[in-house]
Amino acid sequence: MTISLPPETSSPPRLQPSGWLRYFSFSVDHKVIGLQYLVCGFVFYLIGGALAGAIRTELTSPVSDFMARDVYNQVLTLHGTVMIFLWIVPVVNGAFGNYLIPFYVGARDMAFPRLNAVAFWLIPPAGLMLITSYFLTGAAQSGWTAYPPLSITTPATGQIIWILSVLLLGGSSIFGGINFIATILKLRRPGLKLMQLPMYCWAMLGTSILVVLSTPVLAGTLVLLSFDIVAHTGFFNPTLGGNVVVYQHLFWFYSHPAVYIMVLPAFGLVSEILPVHARKPLFGYVTMVYSIMAIVVLGLIVWAHHMFTSGTPPWMRLFFTIATAFIAVPTGIKFFNWLATLWGGRISLNSAMLFSCGFIVNFVLGGITGVALAQVPFDIHVHDTYFVVAHFHYIVFGGSVFVIFASIYHWYPKFTGRMLNEDLGRLHCALTFIGFNLCFGPQHWLGLNGMPRRVAEYDPQFTLINQISSVGALLMAISTLPFLWNVIHSALSGPVAGDNPWKALTPEWLTSSPPPVENWIGEAPLVEEPYGYGVPPDELDLTATSGRDLWSSGK
């Protein structure tokens, strides 16, 4: 027997708001959450960038004249905290992870959609709290590392708000990590094997393992630190018998893996972008997977290289030197594999590809200085100087942020259904690349020659180089303007992209742009060869190839 439904229920009432309003709601759609992460992260990127601008303005002259000295320390603390915990970590993990992982495993959403929404909605209040602390009581001024006893002796309110905010952001990160591990391992479409997953899934699996293992250590450490500040306990307070170096060990046990939490997903994203635009399979899939896992394991046992000048015994220095330097081996494998992916391809020199190549150039330099910094005698001279500032900006800005931009250019057609303007994109890439290298390249020299980091005033002999660096920072600030115009203008009136403008093979492109709720109308596609681009050498179409192609393929 059939029941005739009343006509008004033919369009059932929706539990979730639709239209633009859903981006401001407690949505459980992984794509909405991904874009929430991305846009929220970008807002914090602009705030963190403004703080960086304030720092570079102060440093155009060797005396402290642009802002008060304690304000300068607040600004540098906020800059570091915002850029790490509110921009790079949420965007490379939360934004692209949430958007892409369910597609890649052939699922309709993440394993725990509500936990996912909770994880995102921890971020805006935490960020807001952190920023407003500056206006209400003065922000924390002990750097993003918050080393005691400085963090115990500087004004307590700002430091406590900083701790609460970082605890919330760490919680968000842990929820996200659990969700990614469960989704990748348990929500795969039947028939899809682990070794058939796109590389970004492996990167996110490795990253999430790091998040789940190391973030709780940071949380515990910060709770102890807050006890020291509020309840006057003596965990890290030397006047009460505490040990300040123990804090550094605990802090870096999280914060070194945090570097891999920021770059491993970026490695994964690049591995998705390069094959599509070079029209070739990803070179060396299996070694890529093993090198990600090697980086995860090694990343957990290198933290003390941040403490070569704190009182660490010689044997410990030696162990951490060797362990750190060996991370270069799996990382090197990945870079050689990307170069081999490009070799012999049909490379489209679009914005996504150019930003990815900018990432390779910057990260190789950052990696080389990283291997040098791993050597104890080298580090003893340049530790806590602008050399280190240059090094880690080459990793997290030249690495992760370049990849974030590459990814936005690559997936924007999927997010919005419209194409970005390529000319503006290439202008953005050129300005960012030049500005970035002008800003951070000279800082290597500053560090080698005697300028420590986190200073508002410095030896006048460094004035010129600091001014050059500030010009580079200005160029980077300007470079966001064509990007912002491009993103907003194209969303409204860009050319329509179609479902698959790049002719890509990974599952997110095998649906409409933007994709429907639950990702596919009908069954999820089974993609067993996400990188099946290219023509086998023995099936080259002779009419479409030149003699050089035949020669280079060994025929």
């Binding site: 402290s64 000295r69 001024q141 080393y147 400085l150 030397p238 006047t239 040990n243 170096v245 029209r279 070739k280 399979p281 990803l282 060396g284 899939y285 299996v286 000048t309 704190s310 009182g311 010689p314 030696l318 060797i322 330097a325 060996f326 270069a328 081996v329 090197g332 050689f336 594999n337 170069l339 081999a340 490009l342 070799w343 391809g345 490379i347 489209s348 390779i360 190789v364 080389i368 104890v376 005698p377 080298f378 003893i380 001279h381 530790h383 806590d384 290597h444 080698l448 005697g450 420590p452 980091r453 200073v455 508002a456 005033e457 410095y458 990188y531 681009y533 023509v535 050498p537 080259l540």
Partner: protein, 276 residues
């Protein structure tokens, strides 16, 4: 006839290696060296700079070449070659960096040893004496030399936002560190409030000064002159202004400075009175 690619690769590799060597040897990015371990440090720096230049120029060159040579030309439609991997090649580029990294690690261990970093610190020889534990730092050249070479002990106190230097033998307290050239100096450092770091760029040495945990740093200055002492650990609002000077003097000049300022040494008493 085409030049075989093997020969081209060989020539490019040779040019790259020679170019890297030239860069490492001829581009100087460091300030002048003024202590016995600074030239050892500079040796390591040159090796790392050479290897780094070869790698960086090689990889960027390969990348730029690929982007130009394999760019999609207008009218081209097809894909690239479906090469999914090459196991011998992948083993090769795993093994080569592993060997390079291992070499660099062992070499820097040797450098660190020569700088005195692996020498057990003074307290290890006190044979059960109930002394405070010293936490890390660099010792002077070798174990037996510490006593034999008549190392000059100086106590360093770091506080917000200054360094204080105390010479226990002459009971001198000074805001500048005066040291004689070519004599080992042993700094015993302690912080009063927060963590500071003692850094002399021209000595290529840095050691954190930690409240509650004395640290030690030994060095032998070699070049007379005035060099900056920089605090390298964020220590509060005036961190950037926390600087001092190390004055390296010839042994004679240093002796007269020392005698002018010493209070406690009995044989100097007459001299101090005479001066007064």
């Amino acid at each position: 006839m085409q030049i075989p690619s093997a020969i081209l690769t060989l020539v490019i590799g040779m040019v790259l290696a020679l170019g890297g060597l030239w860069i490492g040897q001829n581009i100087n990015l460091l300030p002048i060296d003024a202590s016995a371990n600074a030239p050892i440090y500079d040796e390591l720096f040159k090796v790392l700079f050479t290897i780094g230049s070869i790698l960086f120029i090689g990889i960027v060159g390969l990348l730029v070449f690929s982007l130009i040579r394999f760019r999609r030309r207008s009218g081209q439609l097809g894909d690239g070659l479906a090469i999914e991997g090459n196991l011998p090649l992948e083993i090769f580029w795993t093994a080569v960096p592993a060997v390079v990294v291992l070499f660099v690690g062992l070499y820097s261990y040797d450098i660190y040893d020569r700088m005195g970093g692996m020498v057990p610190l003074a307290h290890d020889h006190m044979g059960g004496a109930h002394d405070e534990q010293i936490w890390g730092g660099i010792s002077s050249g070798s174990i037996e030399s510490a006593a034999a070479t008549n190392a000059l002990p100086v106590e360093v106190t770091a506080m917000q936002f200054a360094f204080l230097f105390h010479y226990p033998e002459g009971d001198i307290t000074s805001g500048e560190l005066h040291v004689p050239a070519d004599r080992p100096i042993t700094l015993r450092m302690e912080a009063k409030d927060v963590i500071h770091a003692f850094w002399v760029p021209e000595f290529r040495l840095k050691q954190d000064v930690i409240p509650g945990q004395p640290t030690q740093l030994s060095f032998t200055p070699t070049r007379t002159g005035r060099y900056p002492i920089v605090c390298a650990e964020l220590c509060g609002p005036y961190h950037g202004g926390m600087r001092s000077t190390v004055v390296v003097e010839s042994p004679e000049d240093w002796d007269s400075w020392y005698r002018d300022n010493a209070k406690a040494a009995p044989e100097d008493e007459t001299l101090t009175i005479a001066n007064a």
